[in-house]
Amino acid sequence: MARLTPDPTLYPTVRDAIKSPPEDVAYVAALHVGTGVEEPDFLAVVDTDPKSDAYGEIIYKLQLPYIGDELHHFGWNACSSAYCPNARPFLERRYLVVPGLRSSRIYIVDTKPDKRRPTIYKIIEPQAAVEKSGYTKYHTVHCGPDAIYISALGGPDERGGPGGILVLDHNTFEPLGRWEVFRGPQYYAYDFWWNLPAGVMISSEWTTPECFEEGFSPECLRAGKYGHRLHVWDLDKRKHLYAVDLGEEHRMVLEVRPLHDPTKLMGFVNVVLNTRDLSSSIWLWFSEDGRWHAEKVIEIEAQPSEGPLPPPLKDLKMVPPLATDVDISLDDRFLYVSLWGLGELRQYDITNPHQPRLAGRVKIGGIYHRAPHPSGAEASGAPQMITVSRDGRRVYITNSLYSSWDNQFYPELRGWLAKIDVDPDGGMTLDKSFFVDFGRARAHQVRLWGGDSSTDSFCFP
């Protein structure tokens, strides 16, 4: 039956989410795909309560029944958009929707009754979702204004496209089908999010499976097969309105991050590679005069290097920064950028979103910096996936990008999860006492109990 009172982990306003109690448990997508270990991927439960004896440890591993899923991103069945005026907050934030990026299987994981011992509630086998939607390679999950939305990178043949978005029923989790009624010129997919007051969705472009599953492909890059556009959609009519082209040289437009304040019609997105100078860039997308635009607001240069370089970079003698993830604190004050090439996490003050100001830097791992963790632990790989706590005081980072790309840029990568403490006025430091070693498994997205900075949409600031 529906709850009598609202779920305490759903928040009416952004401010309430910021003031909510800190996370005591974190879920981490961990994979064996690409590591040579023939075992299923798993969902790790990490203790994040500083008062607990098991703080900073993996306290449980939910083993999945199949090998080869490639866990990546995941999301909740319900979030704070339940406080929007058209909805009600009497459903539970309880189930994690965990897709397999390689298998196109979707796991529904139950975090109740014991959040430290989640169980598999339901498995949506690949055939079911693929037949209903025509999409494969499921990537990002968002709880939407009327259903659960999942982005898909591949078409029915699992090699080409078009990618797009499929929709799950938010009670039964059964795939309802493809979201787009009219897709227009959109072919590549990756991430998506929305602005609810404007009734608009923004989606981004990586590439199709034939250009990412076996690794980064210079041939695909030369053939122009990595995307360089954002797409603007009518959320209500489910149709493509127009594309915003960031320019031919700006390839791999990845994480779409709106500002959390719904009265602000803008957000950020990262571009991984500028084909002219190997730099990465961060773009601000915003609405002006009823139309959506994008402007480059941060540029991060590649660094020359005479040191040992992995195969894709050997002839270049340069280390590109490879900004692969961005996240924004709930108060919309700080933007975090991971530089998976150099080995850095950067913090920018975005009080003025058009002019971000560098406010903090942390170096760990990376092809360029090769910095160890302050605890002394060796950190292979580099910061990749960013998860910011609701109060903005902690940032969790993991180091895996994608199985085959990990193997190209960081052969022998061992997964880890680190935690960064944020100074309220800006500035960050790695917590010496928090370093979770995943061994040969790779760690990807982290989701905090009660929600984090990239799970919830709000109708009220």
């Binding site: 009172t5 309430d16 058209n86 009327d146 009670n171 609810l196 209500d236 109708c459």
Partner: protein
């Protein structure tokens, strides 16, 4: 129970419920800072609801003579929001829905949820009861919207699932009808 008092009680109950429309008025104010627009949104929702229950009132007239049938209808229709809310907590409208759509969906909801039937069961087809009811809805929801436009944080504390209250009201009314206490 005095019919007029009951009509006002139902109006205050409905008007206080954050899930029955006035949050749209707050939303409008938060986005535009325009009190006029917020009032327009509130009035559109109220207008739709008032038309919806007027239509139920008229449709229910023949039923009122058949107490047991009316009781069954009242009890089952009052449970509809509870079931519907579990199946689809988002309803027809969306955060970006236009005022005209809000008015229409509010009218549809007003007709379908059986509130008009509950009102008619206790008050008969009294125009005074109807007016007292819709007026108290408007006043209560207006006060709620004005208060919460300042800060929505307190919403979490007062927001309970009114669908249970509606279902309870429906069951109580059904019992009243069947027990012939009128």
């Amino acid at each position: 129970m005095d019919p007029l008092f009951f009509a006002i009680f139902l109006g205050v109950l409905h008007g206080a419920d954050p899930g029955r429309g006035w949050l749209f008025a707050v939303y409008s104010y938060v986005l535009t800072k325009d009190r006029g627009k917020a009032l327009l949104t509130l009035s559109a929702l109220w207008g739709g609801h008032s038309i919806g229950i007027m239509a139920t009132y008229l449709a229910a007239a023949p039923l009122l003579g058949l107490r047991h049938l009316a009781a069954a209808a009242v009890a089952s229709l009052s449970a509809v929001p509870l079931i519907h809310g579990k199946l689809n907590p988002h309803g027809l409208a969306r955060p970006w829905s236009r005022t005209s759509f809000l008015a229409i969906s509010s009218a549809l909801a007003g007709f379908a949820h059986g509130g008009g039937l509950v009102l008619a069961a206790i008050c008969g087809l009294s125009p005074w009861a109807y007016l007292a009811h819709v007026f108290s809805v408007y006043l209560t929801s207006g006060i709620m919207a004005a208060v919460f436009a300042k800060s929505l944080t307190a919403l979490k504390k007062i927001y309970i699932n009114f669908d249970y209250l509606y279902a309870a009201t429906g069951v109580a009314t059904a019992i009243y009808l069947v027990a012939g206490l009128g």
